[in-house]
Amino acid sequence: MAGTSTVTLRIWRGDATGGGFEDHEVEVSSGEVVLDVLHRIQATQAPDLAVRWNCKAGRCGSCSAEVNGMPRLTCMTRMNILDQTEPITVAPMRTFPIIKDLVTNVSFNYEMAKRVPAFQPKPKPPEGYRMAQQDIERVQEFRKCIECFLCQNVCHVIRDHEENKPQFAGPRLFIRYAELEMHPLDTGDRRELLQAQMGLGLCNITKCCSEVCPEEIHITDNGIIPLKERVVDRRYDPIAWLGRKIKMRRSGRAE
């Protein structure tokens, strides 16, 4: 049953002024995840080791970090999938400013969330809204997002080019936009905003966001690419543009 072993965790310790990796030798029992081990270090060796966490069940998305270089939720990374013969590195998310140790300042994501134009529902009919299950399934996939920001962290557009941050909403926010654009009740049109100010065109669909998503949301295939196609409808496709014009003339509406 519960076998124990000793492993070395190489944890980045420091704050905004600097820091480096520190080794901690620690007991590990079978079935444990990286976060369990971080907690043990906190309780026995380094009480001030800063780690952000909440649910410890992969549902809140607080405990994101980079384990052996890969962005992961530490509460869902079992120790037995890692090579325990070598030190296991645990580093904070690289894309966001360090606060302390494994805790980063993720306010970038909240700022970008503020810029999302809110849901604009169709007027509610007296008997209430009716929606079919097939109308909402696409959007429900995006709502699985737990806002762990691993996709934002891994995205090279801002990970390697901080100067893009003010003009790039990032994968998390793209699926938020996708969720609104594909919502059966929403009447808004955020395509122009997406292309002009949210940096949809900066995404080169290299799919790292989808690779690291702990909820296995198909961020690129089901979110970003359909958004790009919708932007093409509006911006780059003369036939779609013509079709729209004709339709509009018929119904006598101005754009």
Partner: protein, 263 residues
């Protein structure tokens, strides 16, 4: 892109965190190298095939690189709309279309941005470029015309399928050879690749917000979506398919092997 105001100071936001190329220990460079090798191989082979202008037809088989044949200098002209003033390889008349389709394909973009442009080389590995503008400027902004290449690429699998049907009709009558099967398989793979395209998925239903009001589009969209999940794999398999079909036709045409008749 115009200058963007940045009241929250988002641009300057990363400070003294760990600096490193990557902390990954797995062989993250392997998929990159494989992609480079395969794509380069195909480009070299494809270019040679396109220019050789021989050994692409052996009745009733035709290489997919040379079908449809639109020039009258063709060994098996499908639809000779181009007169005999065209003296180059007839393959050059048609190849730009499937090539453009693959070049702007969402899957291949991922593959070559990662492996050839190292942008990024792999997830959570630092990319070597100093600045980055993605697909916002010329020429990469042209990737947005992918759907037009989809329209242009759409006839190809149909024509190749007809080639496959024609491959039942040998000079000595009706029959089936290994080549018939290969041609048909190739046409099906190319069809799957074309239909599973992200633009196709959007055009046939993805743009609809309320599926329950467009049940037919919803069915199409579901069908394409199921294929689309495998778009990347189909892209590779169909690429090999085209090359291998050509190799087969070429080997039969040059007499290196003889085509086994199944009946």
């Amino acid at each position: 892109m115009a200058t963007v105001d940045d009241p929250e100071g988002l641009a300057e936001s990363r400070s003294q965190g760990p600096r490193f190329q990557t902390l990954r220990r797995d062989a993250w460079w392997r998929p990159m190298l494989v992609t480079i090798a395969v794509l380069l191989g195909f480009i070299v082979y494809g270019t040679w095939v396109a220019f050789t202008n021989e050994n692409y037809f052996v009745d009733p088989y035709v290489s997919p690189f040379y079908s449809p044949c639109l020039a009258s200098n063709c060994e098996h002209a499908t639809l000779p709309v181009i007169g005999d003033w065209w003296t180059l390889s007839p393959a050059l008349l048609i190849l730009p279309f499937p090539l453009g389709f693959r070049l702007t394909c969402y899957y291949y973009r991922k593959a070559y941005y990662r492996s050839f442009w190292l942008s990024p080389p792999a997830c959570s590995v630092v990319e070597p470029h100093r600045s980055y503008t993605g697909e916002t400027r010329f020429p990469l902004i042209l990737q947005n015309v992918h759907r037009y290449f989809f329209y242009l690429a759409l006839p190809f699998p149909i024509i190749l399928f007809i080639d496959g049907i024609r491959a039942f009709f040998f000079p000595d009558g009706f029959g089936m050879g290994l080549g018939t099967l290969i041609l048909l398989t190739n046409a099906v793979l190319l069809g799957a690749y074309t239909i599973s395209c992200h633009s196709c998925r959007h055009l046939c239903g993805g743009h609809v917000d309320v599926f329950s009001r467009s049940p037919l589009r919803y069915r199409f969209w579901q069908f394409v979506s199921r294929l689309n999940i495998r778009h990347g794999e189909i892209a590779w398999v169909s690429l090999f398919g085209v090359a291998l079909t050509d190799v087969y036709v070429r080997l039969v045409a040059t007499g290196v092997i003889s085509d086994p008749r199944l009946f």
